[in-house]
């Protein structure tokens, strides 16, 4: 079931005018920000389908940038997010794409600074609910509703077990888990949704395990 909570239906509390095109867009931006771990210096945002056709009217652009600035759906600063970002020196580019995507409300967000880049594809499925369907070229399915750990690792025996063992040691319960890879034996991505926020020291410990390349988290 895509929707699990009554507050997906009666909620979120948000700045208007559209739950999918404003609140959902803010959430996509905020997940990108959370995964990037810091405020990006630039953002190239491609909009598809209904997002591309109506983003100006719905404030989708403003909301996505609000998310990149770490604003929640009910943060009134969303209204001025583009101005705030520009004042901070963030370079923004919006691209209206003609390509047909599986979901009508799709955004591809590429953000970065001099230390790195992140590319993410998010869809806004209605009522403010979103899913992240691609991250740095890996296909995944992430709701952004729960705290999550994302682990980039080498596709080798035991990598998944070692991560699971560490989480078990700290009594962290796994709610949902997915593994994706581009090619056998190359780089892979573990997406692990957990019930509570994860302490940074656990992330550092995970990162030191064999075959683990990078660990990031999404906080609730």
């Amino acid at each position: 079931m895509k929707y699990r909570s009554v507050f997906d239906i009666i909620g979120p509390v948000m700045i208007g005018p559209s739950s999918s095109h404003t609140a959902g867009a803010a959430r996509i931006g905020r997940v990108a920000r959370s995964l990037f771990g810091r405020e990006p210096k630039w953002a190239n945002i491609s909009l598809y389908g209904s997002f591309a056709k109506t983003y100006k009217g719905h404030g989708t652009d403003v909301a996505l940038v609000g998310g990149l600035l770490d604003f929640d759906t009910d943060d009134v600063r969303i209204i001025n997010a583009i101005d705030i970002a520009k004042d901070k020196g963030m370079k923004l580019r919006f691209i209206e794409e003609d390509a047909v995507t599986d979901h009508p409300n799709t955004a591809r967000v590429i953000i970065g600074d001099h230390n790195g880049e992140l590319e993410l594809v998010g869809i806004s499925i209605g009522g403010g609910k979103i899913e992240i369907i691609e991250l740095n070229g890996f296909e995944l399915k992430l709701s952004g509703n729960h705290p999550a750990i994302l682990v980039v690792h080498n596709d080798r025996f035991g990598a998944i077990a070692s991560v699971a063992n560490t989480l078990a040691k700290y009594e962290l319960n796994i709610g949902h888990m997915e593994v994706a890879r581009k090619e056998i034996g190359k780089m892979a991505l573990m997406t692990i949704e957990v019930d509570q926020n994860i302490d940074d020291k656990i992330l550092i410990e995970l990162e030191q395990l064999p075959n683990i390349l990078k660990v990031t988290k999404i906080v609730d």
Binding site: M1, K2, Y3, R4, S5, V6, F7, D8, I9, I10, G11, P12, V13, M14, I15, G16, P17, S18, S19, S20, H21, T22, A23, G49, S50, K53, T54, Y55, K56, G57, H58, G59, D74, V76, I79, H103, P104, N105, S124, I125, G126, G127, G128, D195
Partner: protein, 294 residues
């Protein structure tokens, strides 16, 4: 976990509970939050709805200037007393409009189930409040009942205008409101489902065709009529009128209609009212761009 309206109603009947109670209990189970936390969270959402209506009743205008002030006009008209339909229904219309005018003006609202359809549920709730004098707890329950039906629609069909047209947004909202009104007025779980079915049947096929892509025209007035539809359907269900097509099948029909609806009529501002000469003219004026082929 209930998967459809039939299971929801069956749970309520077999446990001799209200629909709202089934929803509250499921939320506690699924999220691991306490009952008090779940109720407090809904109370906060209710407070946001109250504030939005209060603000809209006083009068707001959107940035585009397309919408605003109609909630005020309706309240003044009701005060004069020579209306034709009925006070409760017009009050619901006014308060639904108030909420959506605030939404269009980028104010703070609670999506129910979406922002574009956020007026219907609170509009009807605050209108029937005058008539039924519910406790705060009962008003919170109203939102759980509405949420239970919306939950079924969201999981079995869609609540997105881009995916299913306006029938999925205002249609769903109106059905949710009708069911919640019935429970608050003392109707049975079966009558709640009948009210939802009757409402949604009358919203089938409604397209999403916002002028200039803005959640304003015709969204605000669709919320007005969604609220009116919900009120009448609730009265019909309470009168004992039933839907010949079961609620779950109506929801399924809505989903299939949404799938076959052309993209131009699903929140792309390419068809319907958005593509009328006046719609195009407004679009050009708002964005300061010349009229172009879309």
């Amino acid at each position: 976990m209930f998967r459809n309206v039939a299971e929801l109603v069956e749970l309520a009947i077999s446990q001799n509970k209200k629909i709202s109670e089934i929803m509250i209990e499921q939320e506690v189970t699924v999220t691991g939050r306490t009952r008090e936390e779940v109720l407090a969270f809904m109370d906060r959402n209710l407070a946001v709805m109250e504030q939005a209506v209060e603000k809209g009743i006083k009068g707001v205008t959107s940035h585009s200037g397309l919408t605003g002030g109609d909630a005020v006009l309706m309240q003044k008209y009701i005060e004069k007393g020579n209306f034709l339909s009925g006070e409760t229904i017009l009050d619901a219309v006014s308060k639904a409009v108030a909420t959506n005018e605030v939404n269009a003006a980028m104010g703070t609202i609670c999506a129910t189930p979406t922002a574009g359809s956020a007026g219907v549920v609170p509009g009807t709730l605050f209108a029937v409040q005058k008539k039924l004098n519910p406790t705060r707890e009962q008003m919170i329950s109203f939102l759980f009942t509405a949420g239970a039906f919306g939950f079924v629609v969201a999981n079995n069909a869609s609540i997105s205008g881009a995916a299913g047209g306006c029938q999925a947004e205002v249609g769903s909202a109106a059905g949710m409101a009708a069911a919640a009104i019935v429970e608050l007025a003392g109707g049975t779980p079966v009558q709640c489902a009948e009210a939802m079915a009757i409402t949604l049947k009358n919203m089938l096929g409604l397209v999403c065709d916002p002028v200039a892509g803005l959640v304003e025209v015709p969204c605000v007035k669709r919320n007005a009529m969604g609220a009116a539809n919900a009120m009448v359907a609730a009265d019909m269900a309470l009168a004992g009128i039933t839907s010949r097509i079961p609620c779950d099948e109506v929801i399924d029909a809505m989903y299939k209609i949404g799938q076959t609806m052309p993209t131009a009529l699903k929140e792309t501002a390419q068809g319907g009212l958005a593509a009328t000469p006046t719609g195009r003219e407004l679009e050009a004026k708002i964005f300061g761009i010349p009229l172009k082929e879309k």
